[in-house]
């Protein structure tokens, strides 16, 4: 029996009230753990949980995310993470390179494990399916295959060579959802990304939710329930919980806030540019994370009119 299956058989998560604070939920994360972060780029990032992690004690994490954004920079600069596993990291396509990530990787201060986007997807999916690998035609022949140590497998019927993507079982997965009940049954609107596989693959799962609703409400549309209670350890109520990133149908990303971050890390001047970027990221953490008691405090610090306008833009995009 695989270790991940043995862990799961010994760790059942029945229908209990699992609603806790973000600070309490992130205590599931221990030093050196592998934490998978849901959403992609600046979409449906579980930012309330990431901020709680930054506020917490865990250090030296491996953080995996299909496409990463500035949360990766905050995790690196605080020492919370020391390894990134991803297919891409940038501060949105319009916002430029990830300077803090660059500094850490170029100076050897952090490890960077690059898999293709589909390979990331298949790693979580193999984990979710309970098989140790999945065969795929991607990544073959590239330096990604070389550097990740990915192996090949031969089809026993056709003799075809395929890349064998190894299963990934995050120690803890963070995902932000639109609606969850107190047991952890949860619904996601819009893009599902890789979140459902990430949840099923993981050893422990923390959901943040825009809304905590009664179980009966979810049961009105059971096909929209993508995450079942038995896969979930903790549920955190986090309205505006992806801010400054977007949450489908709820609010758009706050481009001004991210631009402010980009200004903070735009340290110019040769050799010290990376250090200046890190200083900027640390200032961001001090001001927007540590200065608030919790994520609610951070959200409240954003002018209501600005929040309203982000909500309104989302409503305009999504007529239903």
């Amino acid at each position: 029996m695989s270790g991940a299956r043995a862990d799961l058989e010994a760790h059942r998560r029945p229908m209990r009230d699992k609603v806790v604070s973000a600070a309490s939920a992130v205590q599931l994360v221990a030093d050196g753990d592998h934490v998978a972060i849901g959403g992609t780029n600046y979409s449906r990032t579980p930012m309330a949980l990431v901020f709680a992690l930054l506020r917490g004690k865990a250090k030296g994490l491996t953080v995996s995310r299909p496409l990463s954004c500035f949360e990766a920079e905050l995790l690196l600069v605080t020492g919370t993470a020391s390894t990134l596993m991803t297919s891409w990291v940038g501060i949105g396509h319009g916002w430029g390179l990830a300077r803090v990530v660059r500094h850490h990787v170029e100076r050897g201060l952090a490890e960077y494990q690059e898999w293709s986007h589909l390979a990331m997807a298949m790693r979580y999916r193999a984990g979710a399916m309970g098989v140790p690998f999945l065969p795929t035609h991607t990544m073959l022949g590239s330096d990604l295959a070389l550097d990740t140590g990915a192996r090949t497998v031969e089809c026993p019927y056709t003799g075809t060579t395929l890349l064998a993507v190894p299963a990934l079982h995050p120690d803890v997965t963070f995902v932000h959802v639109h609606r969850a009940d107190r047991y952890g049954n949860a619904q996601i609107d819009g893009y599902p990304f890789l979140d459902v596989d990430m949840v099923h693959a993981a050893r422990r799962v923390v959901l943040s939710a825009e809304r905590i609703v009664e179980p009966e409400e979810l049961r009105q549309a059971p096909r929209e329930t993508l995450i079942p209670h038995f896969a979930v350890d903790a549920v955190v109520h986090a309205p505006f919980g992806c801010y400054p990133h977007e949450c489908y149908g709820e609010y758009e990303a706050d481009a001004d806030h991210v631009a402010e971050y980009m200004r903070a890390v735009r340290g110019e001047g040769g050799a010290s540019a990376g250090e200046l970027a890190c200083d900027g990221a640390r200032r961001y953490v001090a001001e927007h994370v540590l200065a608030h008691e919790d994520f609610g405090g951070f959200v409240t610090s954003v002018e209501p009119a600005r929040r309203d306008s982000l909500r309104e833009r989302a409503r305009e995009l999504m007529p239903r």
């Binding site: 990291v89 073959l140 330096d143 893009y191 995009l317």
Partner: protein, 248 residues
């Protein structure tokens, strides 16, 4: 005044046939597809890696990411990331369409590392879905500015396979289908020699000389026997493009 990016976008858009399915990266590829849909290819289906099938760009509201809400308005299907890549793997998608930071004479693309991979001088954003798109689609188009630092003899890092070492290198690595068919730049359109898979100039942008293309390329290019010159962008194309960008 037509910018180099506008020129590339128009040139690329003209290469997209109607009725096909294109798996496009964000930026110039997506905009070129949207332009093609407004011209010769109204029934082109645009797929984005976030899970979109049937993208319909709205003027002035271009998404910055293949995964955001703006890209999901009025689409045919909104599904999972794995679903669209697996559909590519199955063989549903005619074109992949990518930008790139660095490309070599066999069409290999580097989006990861400039310099030594162990201690990079620049860590780039990485592959995203580019490796998968170029591994899995029936053919892949690449659009990029034509500069010597981008067109190199051998990329520092093969993020995305072109023809690897050339010849049948792709098949030898287990890539039994697909490949880079066309590179579109602000100076030329290029393809690859049928057998050796070396990059070849097929046609020049208007007013550009072969010498200029060669100077902007860091390796020896093959030249097509029937080297042609591309037609100028039409005013209507430029107008549509600027309308899409919300800058008309």
């Amino acid at each position: 005044m037509i910018s180099p990016d506008e020129l590339m976008t128009v040139t690329a858009s003209r290469l997209l046939a109607d009725d096909r399915v294109v798996f496009a990266g964000i930026g110039i590829p997506t905009v070129a597809c949207a332009l093609a849909k407004r011209r010769q290819a109204p029934d082109l289906t645009i797929v984005l890696e976030g899970g979109i099938v049937g993208l319909r760009l709205r003027p002035g509201q271009l998404p910055d990411s293949t995964n955001e809400m703006r890209a999901a308005v009025d689409v045919d299907q909104l599904t999972g990331i794995a679903d669209v890549f697996l559909a590519a793997q199955r063989g549903f998608f005619d074109y992949g369409f990518l930008g790139c930071a660095q490309i070599d004479k066999y069409g290999n693309i580097n989006s990861s590392v400039i310099g030594d991979r162990a201690a990079p001088s620049v860590r780039l954003p990485g592959t995203g879905g580019a490796n998968d798109i170029a591994s899995l689609c029936t053919e892949t188009l690449v659009v990029t500015r034509h500069e010597p630092r981008r067109f190199v003899e051998r990329v520092d890092y093969v993020t995305t396979p072109g023809f690897l070492g050339g010849g049948d290198g792709r098949a030898a690595a287990g890539l039994g289908f697909g490949g880079i068919s066309t590179v579109i730049t602000d100076l030329a359109v290029l393809d690859f020699h049928e057998r050796t898979k070396q990059m070849r100039v097929r046609a020049l942008q208007p007013g550009v000389s072969l010498r200029e293309v060669e100077k902007a390329t860091g390796f020896d290019l093959l030249v097509a026997d029937d080297l042609g010159t591309l037609p100028e962008p039409e005013p209507a194309e430029i107008a549509l493009l600027r309308e899409l960008h919300g800058t008309s």
